[in-house]
């Protein structure tokens, strides 16, 4: 996804003289071609995330289209108020592209973990939140959103699905139709869900756009009244959205995601996923429990 970001960003900078890329001392080598081609609109601004976001808002006020990039916790968590007020409250558009999703920087420890980014971003009215499952999905979403004058948050992750799912812009997708339960897979969680449910009579829905959320797809594929959600961030992050969508229905719901506690081990992402049960085996067991309930 990082490589695709450099490609699509280079294309955007070439196509639009009002687009700018602002890096927080991250991704500088990856975007080296853009630095060479567009030195007046590509900056390594330094390690000052709060001012970086406000700086970008100032550019947006003057009619530019800023894309801001650094590691998720430092952009979303440290500079949250700047995103909320300078972009959200002031009705300005900007693209926020992060790496280091959830436990991607496992070996670096909890300071670099970020399972809370999407939950935070959901608190900004009007913010668009994208969790692409592949580089191509990211490329498509970015191309369609990057000049829409809204907050567009793109959560890039190391873990990706083996193939892209064809989705309409800002819509979910029906991957498989079954009868006994509906599984909602978000972004890079799809492959785990497919592995866990290959021989089960369940519906699988796929979402890479959290906000806006395709409510109609979920409502029209929930005949079983049993919903299992697999989230690549904190478990139950999208629970408020689901509650709003299903306000007139009684549905048995369960979420699998990153548990809400500080994770203090190191190692790699797969070891963490194994330890917290974010595996196809664990997902399958959960689903079977729900089917028996």
């Amino acid at each position: 996804m990082r490589k695709e970001f450099a490609v699509i960003m280079g294309r955007e900078l070439a196509a639009n003289p009002a687009s700018a890329l602002i890096l927080g001392d991250i991704g500088v080598f990856g975007h080296r071609e853009s630095f060479e081609k567009f030195p007046d609109r590509v900056f390594n601004i330094g390690i000052l995330e709060q001012s970086m976001v406000s700086f970008a808002a100032g550019m947006a006020i003057e009619g530019m289209y800023p894309t801001i990039h650094t590691i998720a916790p430092f952009l979303v968590e440290r500079a949250f108020e700047q995103i909320k007020i300078d972009f959200g409250y002031q009705s300005l558009g900007g693209n926020f592209v992060t790496v280091g999703a959830s436990l991607d920087y496992a070996a670096l420890g909890a300071t670099h973990h970020c399972p809370g980014d999407v939950g935070l971003m959901l608190n900004i009215p009007g913010a668009e939140i994208y969790v692409p499952g592949t580089a191509k999905e990211f490329s498509d979403l970015f191309s369609q959103s990057c000049r829409n004058k809204k907050i567009s948050y793109f959560r890039l992750s190391e873990k990706t699905n083996s193939a892209s799912i064809k989705t309409e812009y800002q819509k979910g997708s029906l991957v498989k139709k079954g009868h006994l339960l509906t599984v909602l897979a978000i972004g890079p969680m799809l492959n785990l869900v497919q592995e866990a449910t290959s021989d089960l009579d369940v519906t699988v829905l796929y979402y890479n756009s959290i906000s806006p959320f395709d409510a109609e797809l979920l409502r029209s594929n929930l005949e079983s009244r049993k919903l299992y959600i697999v989230e690549p961030f904190y478990e139950n992050t999208i629970a408020p959205i689901i509650q709003q969508v299903l306000t007139d229905q009684t549905v048995m719901t369960r979420s699998k995601g990153i548990p809400r506690r500080f994770i203090t081990n190191y190692g790699n992402t797969n070891e963490h996923y194994e330890a917290i049960g974010l595996t196809s085996r664990s997902i399958r067991n959960d689903i079977k429990e729900m089917l028996d309930a």
Partner: protein
């Protein structure tokens, strides 16, 4: 009644009616705002030189009543609107909203946001080769915020000669943090600096006209919080308090 006395009177009357507002902060910046809008902004005095494309940002948004009386004075808002300050449906809030008021560049209130945004605006203007100058007014208390010093680094690194930061140095910070010599601090960050009396219109005008090639300019404007009302001057009791009718009468009587 001097012209500025008329505006000072409006500040305390508006706060008195609304029972809201940061009056001493508004009084400390009033002279700076009046001169800035009169001399440097396109929607005030169009005959003035050097005003096309200029922008002004009130980063210390809690002093908004001063901004509103100045905008009223330059016919940007009506008297009815001015005296609707802080009411439920008013467009004039305790902190200004750029989406509601023409001539307000930023929605400020959370301190430390105006300067970095002003720097982004100045940078964008340079990229677009636009003519104009960005003026940002911050407080010395606001300069406690880390973003002010992040911004100070950014502005000099990006050689933003089209930016002036005015520090309303009314010593608000003294009770918490001693900010020391503000001019020396900005100078250490690569800015051109000068120190003025923030209530002297001639000094303010000369300072805001200053340009130094590719260096941003910091104007340390020494001001008095609550300026013009002796009871209120440098008296922290009044930081966020509006006068009742008796106090209003007393203030009008003692006002300079």
């Amino acid at each position: 009644m001097s012209y500025l006395r008329k505006l000072r009177t409006q500040i305390i009357e508006v706060a008195g009616v609304a029972k809201e507002g940061h009056v001493p902060s508004a009084l400390s910046i009033l002279d700076i705002l009046f001169v800035t809008y009169k001399e440097f902004l396109p929607h005030s005095d169009l005959s003035s030189i050097d005003n096309i494309g200029n922008r002004f940002i009130l980063s210390k948004g809690h002093a908004s009543i001063a901004l509103y009386v100045v905008l009223h004075d330059f016919n940007q808002i009506t008297t009815e609107e001015l005296f609707s300050f802080a009411k439920y449906e008013s467009k004039l809030g305790g902190h200004p909203d750029r989406n509601k008021i023409a001539g307000v560049e930023l929605s400020t209130g959370s301190l430390g946001h105006g300067l970095p945004q002003g720097i982004g605006m100045a940078k964008a203007m340079k990229i677009k080769k636009a003519v104009g100058h960005i003026y940002v007014l911050i407080g010395d208390g606001e300069a406690n915020e880390g973003t002010i010093w992040e911004s100070a680094l950014l502005a000099s690194n990006h050689k933003l000669g089209n930016l002036t930061c005015i520090v309303d140095n009314n010593l608000s910070s003294e009770r918490a943090l001693d900010m020391g010599n503000m001019a020396n601090k900005f100078e250490a960050f690569g800015w051109e600096t000068l120190e003025i009396n923030g209530h002297d219109h001639g000094e303010i005008t000369r300072a805001l006209k200053l340009r130094k090639n590719n260096k941003p300019i910091a104007v340390i404007a020494n001001t008095v919080k609550g300026f013009g009302i002796p009871t209120m001057e440098s008296n922290p009791e009044w930081h966020h308090r509006s006068p009742n009718p008796e106090e209003l009468a007393m203030f009008l009587g003692e006002m300079r």
